[in-house]
Structure formats: structure tokens, C-alpha cells
């Protein structure tokens, strides 16, 4: 059975997924499959019975789940180490019935339905008292970790511990709020919109920036202009705006950078005790094209070397003609 284990030094949880247990030989160059439409499992799944379906979007339980909620959540210790049952859920969101690989090529309506689906699934999972965090994310392309690249889809994971990077973000925002009595992200939106050099595109409710301290070339953040800590509640009434800006930025990446692999992650506030984050956190999306490799220095220090200033990334992306 899979396990959650906590590093005794830094307190970081890890998931050891034995359902995917691999012997040494199984690591040798895993090739991604680019299934044609006839053999695409997701083209078939779209008609099968799933967890949820609406507007052409289908949610299914992962066929090789990393987390499982069939047994109650349990924690125990082993000497100085901490272990927990890998409780939670792992769902696949099939974004459209059509066999289209890149979300950039879906219609604004379809993209809207995908983000609405994330919100609805989050509202379901957060009722579970054992769930601490829910992440909706996407891996597009081999370099972004996708193993089957033909049919656009994303994933939702609900986990029973507060992950380390989420804690970093929320506690940074909390510290800022405690001192300034303002939301850090609201200040960021104001400063970026005033200064403009890192703004890629904006619409009524959202602004896309390349962050000041970008880790990767062409890393972008999609920030809601209005303050809201939680994604699932915060997008109400802004779904059209979000879908059209996502389509816009994904097309800019596709056209400008020659269809790169990318990941995006929705960063929303933790599930438990939402009122404590209400004023202090601000949901957003991190979008990262995967153009460079992470090497020893980055792994060892957490210190990233970005080979191009974000101002240059932003001006390049601004000038991409997505109608060409």
C-alpha cells in the first residue's frame, strides 16, 4: 500500500506510490505514447461512467491512483519518522470529447467548462474533514511529465496533509499581511499594473504577469484583480473572463514558443480553517513552460537561474500575434 512519509529534518511530506512501484529496469527511458484517436483511452472514457460529467467535460477516478479514500485516514510514528496512510483522491479531468492535445486549441466555452469543473470538484472534496489541500493542475507534453500526449486533460488531487510549498506561500502572504494589513497579491497586482513591464495581457477580471523573481523563462502567473483567497468561490461570475485569458496566454505560448510542454497549477487557499486565510491569501494560477532542465544547483539549493529577464519574456509574449 502507498504511504505518506514526513522528512524528519525539513518536515516535507512525500508520497511513496507503490501501486506504481518500479524496479530499476522500469526507469529506463519511459517513452510517452502519442495515441491516435482510434486507440485513445480518453476518447473511449468520455462515454464511460465517470465521477462527474457536464458540458463535454468528464471526470474519472485515476486508473492508477496515488491516493485512496477507501480506508480511514491514519497517522503513526516509527522512531523518529512519521508515516500516514496515503488517503485522498486522485481524479482525471478529460477536458473535451474531441481528440485535441493542447488546451490552447479548445474553445473558450470548453475551457470555461473545465475551470468550472475544477471548482465543483473542489467544493465536493473540501467537505471531507480529512482533506487539507486540493490541487488542480495540468501536465502538457513529455517534458512536463505527461506520459500520454494525445488528448487534453488535467488532474485534481485532494491530500490529507498541508504540502510544504503551499505552507511557504500562505505563510509568506500571512507575514506580509500581519505587517502591512494589506494582501500581498493585491499589492503585487497594483504594482505590476502600474509599472506594466511585466504584464503580458489583461482583461476585466484578470492580469497575466511574468513574476519579478521568475524561476523559469516565460513563467507566468494569472492573477485575479479582485481579492479572493479561494479559487472555487472566487471564480463565481468571472468564469468567462478566466477562460478567455487562459486561452489567450496558452495560445501565446503555443505560437510564440513553438508548442512547448507546460505545467499549470491552481494555487488556492488550504481547505481547513478557510476564514483564517480569507483576507491574507489570494488565489492564482502558475503557468510554466518547460524549456530548461532543473540541474544539481537548483535541486541542491532551491535557487533558480533564470536565463532571461522576466521583462524580456513579457515583452516577447505581448508581441506574439495569436491570430496569425
Amino acid at each position: 500500500m502507498s504511504q505518506l512519509r514526513k522528512d524528519p529534518i525539513v518536515g516535507r511530506w512525500t508520497i511513496i506510490a507503490t501501486e506504481r512501484a518500479r524496479r530499476p529496469a522500469a526507469f529506463v527511458d519511459p517513452q510517452a505514447t502519442d495515441t491516435d484517436q482510434k486507440h485513445c483511452p480518453y476518447c473511449q472514457e468520455i462515454n464511460a461512467k465517470g465521477v462527474y460529467a457536464s458540458h463535454g467535460v468528464k471526470v474519472i477516478n485515476s486508473p492508477s491512483p496515488i491516493l485512496d479514500d477507501s480506508k480511514p485516514f491514519e497517522r503513526r510514528g516509527h522512531g523518529l519518522y512519521d508515516i500516514a496512510h496515503s488517503y485522498g483522491s486522485h481524479e482525471i479531468v478529460i477536458e473535451a470529447p474531441e481528440h485535441i492535445a493542447n488546451m490552447a486549441d479548445l474553445s473558450v466555452e470548453q475551457i470555461k467548462a473545465v475551470f468550472q469543473t475544477y471548482a465543483l470538484r473542489m467544493q465536493v472534496h473540501r467537505k471531507n474533514p480529512f482533506i487539507e489541500y486540493i490541487l488542480a493542475y495540468k501536465n502538457y507534453g513529455v517534458a512536463a511529465g505527461s506520459r500520454n500526449i494525445g488528448h487534453s486533460r488535467s488532474q485534481i488531487m485532494a491530500v490529507p496533509v498541508l504540502p510544504m510549498r503551499v505552507k511557504d506561500k500562505t505563510s509568506g502572504a500571512e507575514k506580509y499581511f500581519d505587517f502591512h494589513e494589506r494582501c500581498l497579491f493585491c499589492d503585487m497586482v497594483r504594482q505590476e499594473m502600474g509599472n506594466k513591464e511585466r504584464v503580458v495581457v489583461e482583461n476585466e477580471h484578470f492580469v497575466v504577469i511574468t513574476p519579478f523573481a521568475s524561476r523559469f523563462p516565460f513563467e507566468t502567473w494569472v492573477l485575479p484583480k479582485d481579492h479572493h483567497s479561494d479559487f472555487a468561490d472566487g471564480i463565481a461570475g468571472h468564469e468567462d473572463s478566466l477562460a478567455s485569458i487562459m486561452k489567450d496566454i496558452l495560445l501565446r505560448l503555443k505560437v510564440g514558443l513553438n508548442d512547448p510542454a507546460y505545467n499549470y497549477m491552481i494555487q488556492t487557499s488550504p481547505v481547513q480553517d478557510p476564514s483564517s486565510f480569507k483576507e491574507k491569501y489570494h488565489w492564482h494560477i502558475e503557468l510554466m513552460p518547460r524549456l530548461t532542465r532543473v540541474a544539481g544547483f537548483e535541486r541542491g539549493t532551491g535557487f533558480y537561474i533564470c536565463p532571461i529577464p522576466p521583462e524580456m519574456s513579457a515583452s516577447f509574449l505581448r508581441e506574439v500575434d495569436i491570430n496569425a
Binding site: 512519509r5 524528519p8 511513496i16 518500479r22 493542475y137 519579478f212 512547448p260 505545467n263 532542465r293
Partner: protein
């Protein structure tokens, strides 16, 4: 001059390499072709193609920047940080930045283009370790620096762009985030229990046994209990020691032996994969820390990070560490 910028949310510093900025279309899609021998600037006889050497092991006392070396350290021709200039800090609204002052050196591990670390003789490997320590001590004396990182990228999918076996050394004007996290955790543990958490990890690894890969009289190699990556392996001195620069000649010999052993095991068990390793030690000035304990972390590059890991820092590891350790023990 490169710039250091701080993320206002999580406090992570990044280096913005504005000196040799790449254009958007200069990022090759997954094909790093490492430099071939015919044009390799690290090969003997081409010493003039690198910046002037800062240190070398030359058994026959040959002059600097000429052949006859066993290990040779040169400044990186394309440094990510600049060794000239002073540290100047500035705030811009909610953002913080400083000048990219630091050092970036390349340590060429041997004259032979085709020899990797696992093929060096014991003496050659020892020369590499002693050069690590020499450079580490030297850079630690520069008052502008707070931390020195020694690391290695082997194989193109671990980020190596030159075939010829080499490591890199970067001196930084601040303590990096992952080290700060370890320090904070170790200090917290020490306050609570009055012991070094790493020493306690070592004693529990001896009790459990199943995650031990190999040991010698100075060091233990094991797969950590909560790894981030499959086959992640740590090498740690058995006795408490915060700072790498305090290792004596005997422990350097032991380190050379165990590092080479582990790399050979990884090569055999996993079919010569790409890998990274890096050395974590106490920040400059904390050599006598009672709570920190230096070590090397080795990470074979077998899987790709996905959005879930980027978004949460929660890593998904497909192999139990006791199984990784068993495969490596038996290799």
C-alpha cells in the same frame, strides 16, 4: 551584471542571468548535445581556451594553464554570478533585489575526456575531493559570500552540457532556501531534544538497517526514509561534523571511496543514468554548529517532475527507499 531577485511571497532568491540572455527561440527542445572531444575545452592542450586556472593538482609541478594536471579548477567562462563588484541591495516597491555577486567555478575531474568519476583510480578520486575542500576553504574566506555549493550534473538529462567529467562550485551572497529549511528544522529539533537530528537519523538507520546501501569506517550511505526521488541516496559522516571544510585527509580518503562506490552501484543497478549530486554543509561561519551535519545528496535523474510536484512540493516517489537500498546493495 546578473541580478539576484527575491520572490515576495515565499522569499526564494533567483538569479536573473541578464548577461547572456537567451532569445526565446534559443531553448532547444530536449536535445542538449554535449561537447565532443574534438573541440572539448576541458581536454589537456586546450588550457588556453578556458579562463586562467585558480587551482590545480599538478603532481609534476608543471606550470599553470599547461598540461600535466590531475584536477584543474577554472572560473566558468559563462558565470551565472559575477566575481567583481560589491553587494548592493535595493528595494523596488514590494520587491527586493541585489547585485549578482558571487563566484562560479568549474572543477575538471581529470585529463581524460572519456573517463567518468566511476572510472577514476582511488588516488585520482581523492585528488577531486581534496580539490573540493581546497576551493571550498578558499571561497569561504571571501567576506562577500555566505554559502558555497559544490555540485555535479552528470548526463544530459541532469543538465550537463559538456561531456568531459566535471563538477561546479558556486559561492553565493546568501544562504539558499533548501539549506535554510534544513538548518531551521535541525535547530528546532536541537532545541527540543538537545541532539543533532542527523545523528539521530544515522542511529535509527543502523537500527532499521533496511535503507543502508554501504558504509566504511568514516561514512554511511543510505536511502532516506522520506525521499523526493526514487533511488535518492545520502552520504553522511558517521561522527557529528557541521562543516565539510573540517574533514581531514583520512576522511577525504573514506569519502572518495564511498562516493565512488555509490556512483558505481547507481551505474550498475540503473544502467548508467544521468544524476545530480550536491554537498550540503553549514553556512560560512557556522562550522561548529551543534545541530547541523554536512552530507552529500545524490539524485539519479529517472523521472520528470509534474505539475503536482511543482504546485505542492509533495513529491511522488515510485519506489520504496528500502527497495532502492536493496537494489543498490546488491548491485
Amino acid at each position: 551584471m546578473p541580478e539576484l531577485r527575491r520572490d515576495p511571497v515565499v522569499g526564494r532568491w533567483v538569479i536573473i542571468d541578464s548577461d547572456h540572455s537567451k532569445g526565446p527561440l534559443d531553448f532547444p527542445k530536449d536535445d542538449n548535445t554535449p561537447t565532443r572531444q574534438e573541440i572539448c575545452p576541458f581536454c589537456p592542450g586546450r588550457e588556453h581556451q578556458t579562463p586562467h586556472e585558480v587551482d590545480a593538482v599538478r603532481p609534476l609541478k608543471s606550470p599553470a594553464d599547461s598540461p600535466g594536471w590531475l584536477v584543474r579548477t577554472v572560473p566558468n567562462k559563462f558565470p551565472v554570478l559575477s566575481s567583481d563588484g560589491f553587494l548592493e541591495k535595493e528595494g523596488i516597491g514590494i520587491y527586493d533585489q541585489m547585485t549578482g555577486v558571487g563566484a562560479h567555478e568549474v572543477l575538471i575531474e581529470g585529463p581524460d575526456h572519456d573517463k567518468s568519476l566511476t572510472e577514476l583510480t582511488r588516488e585520482e578520486m581523492q585528488a577531486v575531493i581534496s580539490q573540493y575542500q581546497g576551493r571550498f576553504r578558499k571561497l569561504s574566506n571571501d567576506s562577500r559570500f555566505k554559502y558555497v555549493v559544490i555540485f555535479k550534473n552528470f548526463g544530459s538529462s541532469a543538465g550537463a552540457t559538456v561531456e568531459h567529467s566535471h563538477s561546479q562550485i558556486i559561492a553565493l551572497p546568501m544562504v539558499p532556501k533548501t539549506v535554510l529549511e534544513e538548518l531551521k528544522g535541525a535547530e528546532y529539533y536541537h532545541q527540543y531534544r538537545g541532539r543533532c537530528v542527523f545523528c539521530d537519523v544515522i542511529s535509527q538507520e543502523y537500527q532499521d538497517k533496511e535503507r543502508i546501501v554501504v558504509e566504511n569506517s568514516g561514512f554511511l550511505a543510505f536511502c532516506p526514509y522520506a525521499p523526493r526521488y526514487a533511488f535518492e541516496t545520502w552520504i553522511i559522516p558517521k561522527g557529528h561534523m557541521a562543516d565539510f571544510s573540517n574533514t581531514d585527509e583520512a576522511s577525504q580518503a573514506h569519502l572518495a571511496q564511498i562516493l565512488q562506490d555509490v556512483l558505481k552501484k547507481i551505474k550498475t543497478a540503473l544502467g548508467n543514468p544521468s544524476y545530480n549530486y550536491y554537498l550540503h554543509t553549514a553556512p560560512i561561519g557556522y562550522a561548529n554548529s551543534a545541530c547541523y551535519h554536512w552530507h552529500i545528496e545524490i539524485i539519479p535523474k529517472l523521472t520528470r517532475s509534474v505539475g503536482f510536484e511543482w504546485g505542492t512540493g509533495l513529491h511522488i516517489v515510485p519506489t520504496f527507499p528500502q527497495d532502492s537500498a536493496r537494489y543498490l546493495r546488491e548491485a
